[in-house]
């Protein structure tokens, strides 16, 4: 028995090594995009696209829709792989799957995946997303009605379009009609727009609001997007190393510090309790920067006094909010669809993308659906919808028309692959400065510390 043990161990090691070798030897199949696959695998972080797909894609066999799977009328299976976004888990899982793409058999590969604007460049510039026009086959003619900024964000360095979206999310400045009437004796959007048409006027109006006991903005991050979507240059210069402390960012810092010291804002952070409360009847905030979905759902939900009573005039601030374009055009939100390299469902992907991101009637139906109200990425459809549109929540205002006009003005030519990290870290670092806990220099130092940890190759401009 003494002598048998080492033999046993040796055998174990041998079996182990053989099994590693066996598992490791996957035949590498080609990465060309082909069609005819029986399974379409889509990766996303929640069920938003899944519900759009089920409700609006024509070939769905709704009887067989199950938990995380769908079937088309021709029997093709749609598999939804949902990984929530906590601690960046969605991207980590997606990256691992994409990198293993060429080692997997065709039916096990990822076929489509969803991305957001802040990190779009990462996937758009990589070889893992397919060219929408050349490889997937959507023509310029089909794509012509999409808003330009939704295409700019997902166009790579060689001018290839790598993703497409069914949403457009232009932003506006939502303000309280009752406070406007009290302070300016009118709530007319054109008049109010005059008072916030550029940052100088915006700041003047803020002072007026303060005199009357109201806040112009809720917190530190509310106006960030408006500035960051209008930067004069990219966050990181083209050498992919030097960070650019853009004038727009500095303006945001200056204005927010000013507002915080003078009491023009309520010192909140985006999404925290007081930020939410400020949108309700007890709130004293004059306005919020909000985009499409925000107005339709978050603001509406927060404005009600009693959730059990119907959503109508008299229930809290329903009908007492209005919108105007604000000092600069910006967007907030949006989800883009990518086709993964090596997929075996190209034709199907093309059809899905066509119906949901190019087809006027489908997209008009999505917006018209009261439960959804996504502002869709189709100029013709939105123009049709805008005719005579009245939003009860906004006191009868035609905010779709305003979205139309705003969407055209958005200019996203200055995005970089580092936007997600830079935007997050600058807001986090500056929060301490706005609260008066540390100095501006220390805040910038903390920003650079965090950036270095997130993107090791970046450095401060010398």
């Amino acid at each position: 028995m003494k002598k048998r043990l080492p033999v046993l161990l040796l055998a174990l090691v041998m079996v182990f090594s053989i099994s590693i070798a066996a598992f490791g030897c996957d035949k590498v199949e080609s990465m060309d995009a082909v069609s005819g696959g029986k399974v379409l695998r889509i990766r996303c972080w929640n069920d938003e696209f899944q519900s759009r797909f089920r409700s609006f894609y024509p070939d769905v066999n709704s009887e067989k829709s199950g938990e995380g799977v769908d079937y088309l009328t021709d029997g093709t299976k749609i598999e939804w792989v949902i990984v929530a976004n906590q601690n960046n888990a969605y991207q980590i899982a997606l990256d691992t799957a994409l990198k293993a793409q060429d080692e997997k058999k065709r039916e096990d590969r990822v076929d489509m995946f969803l991305i957001e604007a802040d990190y779009a460049s990462k996937y758009v510039d990589s070889e893992y997303s397919l060219d929408i026009k050349k490889d997937v086959g959507l023509t310029d003619n089909l794509l012509k009605d999409q808003y330009e900024y939704t295409q700019t964000i997902v166009t790579d360095k060689n001018n290839k379009l790598k993703a497409t979206s069914w949403q457009a999310a232009p932003g506006l400045y939502a303000y309280r009609r009752d406070i406007a009437k009290e302070v300016f004796e009118t709530d007319d959007p054109d008049v109010i727009q005059e008072k916030v048409s550029d940052w100088v006027k915006f700041e003047e109006t803020a002072a007026t609001m303060k005199e009357n006991g109201y806040y112009m903005l809720s917190g530190f991050d509310d106006s960030f997007r408006v500035f960051s979507n209008n930067m004069t240059g990219k966050w990181v210069k083209d050498d992919n190393k030097t960070i650019n402390e853009d004038a727009a960012i500095n303006n945001w810092i200056k204005q927010t510090k000013d507002f915080s010291e003078k009491g023009y804002n309520n010192g909140t952070t985006l999404w925290d309790e007081n930020w939410q409360k400020g949108q309700g009847p007890e709130g004293k905030v004059f306005g919020y920067f909000y985009s499409t979905w925000g107005i339709n759902f978050t603001l509406l939900g927060n404005s009600l006094a009693d959730k059990n009573k119907p959503e109508e005039e008299g229930n809290g601030l329903y009908g007492k909010w209005a919108v105007c374009p604000g000092p600069q055009a910006y967007y907030w939100g949006g989800t883009w669809l990518c086709a993964a390299a090596g997929t075996d469902n190209v034709t199907l992907i093309r059809d899905i993308m066509y119906h949901l991101t190019c087809n006027k009637d489908t997209m008009k139906a999505i917006t018209a659906d009261v439960k959804i109200q996504d502002f869709t990425n189709n100029k013709a459809a939105m123009a049709e919808l805008a005719v005579g549109y009245e939003s009860a929540f906004l006191g009868g205002q035609n905010h779709i028309q305003m979205f139309l006009e705003a969407a055209d003005k958005i200019d996203m030519s200055n995005i970089s692959p580092y936007d997600q990290g830079c935007n997050e870290k600058i807001q986090g670092a500056m929060a301490d400065y706005f609260k008066g806990t540390i100095s501006l220099d220390k805040a910038w130092a903390n920003f650079y510390t965090n950036i270095k940890e997130t993107y090791p190759q970046l450095q401060k401009a010398s």
């Binding site: 003494k2 002598k3 990589s126 893992y128 986090g428 301490d432 510390t449 965090n450 940890e453």
Partner: protein, 330 residues
């Protein structure tokens, strides 16, 4: 080979210093069973932990990270990563934060847990409903750490119940824990305490229950009061379990991540004073998958943990020596 075994002076327990009375020599060895019983552990460890670990250690000497989906490296850079972590990054500041927060929470935690363990098993006090209490104190551990963080965010927010009470009592006009370094740290430590003190109490109780009751009874008959019994009988006999609690709590404390991550929304503010060392590691590994820097930081963290563990080990068993002295003198 490795199976040459000396059977002559076999004793089973290391701590047992009394000479084994049994002079009977066993003529076949049982030691192979020792090896046999160890196999599952070591095989699983090798497959699931060791191999990934080796790659972590290996890459700590390489420049290896991702830009988007492309990889930079691995390029051999010797000690560059270590230099960067030690001298340029805030690694030691984060380590300091972690240890401070751990101590802030652990010291009260161990006191409370020891107290509870003794209270529940004290034969004189004979508390009622101990079963009920024991069940309740463990319950916070059942809640997910992230849920805990969310709940505390609500309670301590600037317009939350605590703030309202403080304002009403005129203690402060405006309550914002995020502007105070020690309040943020204190809250994180308290959350940790609440979540884990039940755990610690149960572990210590399991240890206390292993002590023979007759020892307590004998001591009482001799006239010892509760404090004497605690320090002279309970603590020394609790030593192995106590060391376990100390060590695992320290290791767990160094790995503090979930609670500060949720509570400070990933930033570790104010002024990065509540950013723990694992928050740093997660950030380094997160977006850019920087295996080089993460490897270096992990290796350093490992050595620091070993050193701290040795310190704790000595601390626990040093008391043993000193009480033995006192015992002999009495």
């Amino acid at each position: 080979m490795i199976l040459e075994i000396e059977n002559k002076n076999k004793t089973f327990l290391d701590a047992d210093k009394t000479v084994d009375n049994k002079k009977k020599r066993k003529h076949f060895s049982y030691s192979k069973w020792g090896y046999l019983f160890l196999i599952p552990f070591f095989v699983a460890f090798f497959l699931f932990t060791f191999l990934p670990l080796i790659s972590t250690f290996y890459y700590s000497f390489f420049e290896y990270y991702s830009v988007g989906l492309d990889e930079v490296g691995p390029n051999f850079v010797k000690f560059e990563n270590y230099k960067q972590v030690i001298f340029e990054s805030q690694f030691f500041k984060y380590l300091g934060n972690t240890i401070i927060i751990w101590l802030l929470g652990f010291i009260p935690q161990i006191i409370i847990s020891l107290l509870l363990a003794v209270l529940f098993t004290d034969t004189r006090l004979k508390l009622k409903f101990t079963g009920f209490f024991k069940s309740i104190i463990y319950m916070p551990n059942l809640v997910m750490a992230s849920a805990f963080g969310m709940l505390f965010l609500t309670i301590f927010s600037t317009s939350g119940p605590i703030a309202n009470i403080l304002i009403r009592l005129n203690i402060t006009k405006h309550f914002d824990y995020s502007t105070s370094i020690w309040m943020t740290r204190g809250l994180i430590a308290s959350m940790n305490l609440l979540m884990w003190f039940g755990n610690t109490t149960i572990l210590l109780m399991a240890g206390v229950m292993g002590i023979d009751i007759s020892l307590f009874e004998a001591a009482r008959i001799d006239g010892a009061n509760s404090w004497k019994i605690f320090f002279k009988i309970t603590m020394p006999l609790l030593r192995p379990i106590f060391l376990f609690v100390l060590l695992t709590s320290m290791i767990g404390g160094i790995q503090l991540f979930d609670i500060p991550q949720v509570f400070t929304r990933g930033m570790g503010n104010p002024n990065l004073t509540s950013k723990t060392v694992i928050m740093y590691l997660a950030q380094v590994l997160g977006t850019s998958k920087n295996y080089g820097a993460a490897g270096a930081a992990s290796v350093m963290l490992f050595f620091i943990t070993v050193v701290l563990s040795l310190v704790l080990f000595v601390f626990t068993y040093k008391k043993d020596i000193s009480t033995k002295h006192k015992g002999r003198k009495a």
